[in-house]
Assembly symmetry: C2
Homo-oligomer: 358 residues x 2
């Protein structure tokens, strides 16, 4: 039997609840496809801060690096919101992404037929939306140097950051995006602000140059402000979007909300080699933590992405995705996606229902 080591990082808030459920689903789907999964659990984020004083202990990063894939719950919470930057839960996540070298963040945003009413967009605008945002995740302004605080020539306090992209970092993310587009509907829209920013001009130039290697892919370019509008106006026009770290942060979240059900959306972050990082896109929702109210489906679907993109175990991945669809068809809903006529269940029960259909 093929066997893999998985690092589980439950994190904060509802993280532990949803990861526990996803772990069971992962084990079962694997077992049914002859795949043995071994798990180790480590600390990250606020819970790591409380226990060890840092948001990403070395032990966690080492374990993650040494495993075949990493499944993360969620990080953050009010408690640590006013911490200094190096002691914020978010810093642990950024360090983890950088440490694993997972530069390509795949963010699917598809409107499921069962949940089309969850979208705030009109049915005819929302239905059929199926977008994949490929976000550059370990470069750009979130990591660029110089950064920090200082004083300018007028003696005024300043805060500053650097948006910087080397050609090689643009090329590698663009290549991932072209390949993703090839497995989808063959259209790639690169988003930038090349009418103003030099970093975007280089971005556009490199992406355009790479297109000749992918003659079967239809490449277009869009300014980020326009992209933010077009996602609201007509999201169906998009297939695959590729963009930098900060624009990807904003647009992937906007695209997610178009679906109306962010409790359903997974993500995958992958690098050149080494383990990938898989996590639901929702936050740690401290308000409902520990109450068995969280929707575990985004983490379960992240586990499916882990099997597909992290381990190449397509069959087990399909099994999980089919089980989620069936569970929705059976009418089970957590509070965040509940509508009259469906069956309201908690986090654990939702997990049990998925397990039954795996």
């Amino acid at each position: 039997a093929r066997s893999y080591n998985i690092t589980l990082l439950p994190g904060d808030g509802i993280g532990p609840e949803v990861v526990a459920v996803a772990k069971d689903v992962l084990s079962l789907a694997g077992a049914l496809e002859g795949v043995e999964l071994r798990f180790q659990e480590k600390l990250v984020g606020g819970s790591a801060l409380d226990a060890t004083g840092v948001p990403l202990p070395d032990e966690t990063l080492d374990a993650a690096k040494g495993s075949d894939a990493v499944l993360l719950g969620a990080i953050g919470g009010y408690k640590w919101d006013n911490n200094e930057k190096h002691l914020k839960p978010e810093t642990g996540l950024l360090q983890l992404r950088a440490g694993l070298g997972v530069f390509a963040n795949l963010r699917p945003a598809a409107v499921l037929p069962q949940l089309v009413d969850a979208s705030t967009l009109k049915k005819e605008v929302a239905e059929g939306v199926d977008i994949m945002v490929v976000r550059e995740l370990t470069g750009g302004i979130y990591f660029g140097k110089p950064r920090g605080f200082g004083t300018n020539d007028n003696g005024d306090d300043i805060g500053f950051n650097t948006e910087v992209y080397p050609a090689s970092e643009i090329d590698r993310i663009a290549r991932v995006a072209f390949e993703v587009a090839r497995k989808r509907r063959g259209r790639l829209c690169s988003v930038d602000k090349a009418n103003v920013l030099e970093a975007s001009m280089l971005w556009r130039k490199r992406v355009t140059a790479l297109a000749s290697e992918f003659p079967d892919i239809e490449l277009s370019h869009m300014y980020v402000d326009n992209a933010a509008m077009q996602l609201v106006r007509n999201p169906k026009q998009f297939d695959t979007i590729v963009t930098n770290n900060i624009f990807g942060d904003i647009l992937s979240d906007e695209a997610s909300m178009i679906t109306g059900s962010i409790g359903m959306l997974p993500s995958a972050s992958v690098g050149e080699s080494g383990p990938g990082l898989f996590e639901p896109i929702h936050g740690s929702a401290p308000d409902i933590a520990g109450q068995d109210k969280a929707n575990p489906l985004a983490t379960i679907l992240s586990a499916a992405m882990l099997l597909r993109y992290g381990l190449g175990e397509e069959n087990a991945a399909n099994r999980i995705e089919a089980a989620v669809t069936e569970t929705l068809n059976h009418g089970f809903r957590t509070g965040d996606i509940y509508s009259p006529g469906t069956t309201l269940v908690g986090c654990k029960r939702m997990g049990e229902e998925v397990l039954k259909t795996v």
Copy 2:
């Protein structure tokens, strides 16, 4: 009679058509309120590039600076899209904003009862939305130095930009925003990425400190990725939003599209003193230029903002806004906002209808 000098910058594409119409409306509304308006027309953007080789001729900037207010149509077009940065139409606009020192961009996004169906959002989500985005316009990453192209330690080509905010620039835009919120519903949401960026941490610190001067205003903070989601999920939660240049660019356009009718939306850019710059938010729409199809209402409403925020002529501004409402109530619509049962008109005719009701 009070008299003012107005610089008209028709610009490119549909710019000349919509400015011509707005000029007549401005003249009439002024005359009826005892205000004399004198106009001079100058070149900017692509048309300036073609005529003079630069996107903002000195003559244009001097004229604009010497006048009491500036009304701009639109700039840009395919023709100049591949120009080098200093020869892009957009560069002319950025130079104009910087040259006039108009650091505060006011971007209203209100869903009009007559046009609620134009929104792609469900009626119950869209109706009643009334947001004002206050965007910092002359600082941040669009202007920050160092910027440019270079090579990194690995010999790799790089493109880079600097996001930088001095405390004084944060304070002055925040002050404008608090004052705008005071004239509205008293709530201000400051948007940043203070969980990652130092420039945002200083932003949040200064905005928070200023709040003590405005005890009547309810201040909240939101991360930009969340704001992009919340605008889709429940736009009614927002009153006034204040944010930096790049986040403001993205979010103000997203908010505009929530209304479904960007052909209706004006903007005002104002500084500490000196003339303000007033422009519709739509682009130059080269596809329909010269065909009498453009919607002039955004430019007409920009003229109203010019009267209010630029000249302090509240009565004349109200006259124009009331005339636009009445014209919509009469059922006149340009193609972009047309729906069955209304009367389709062109740009000129729409102008005439507004003139009749001014």
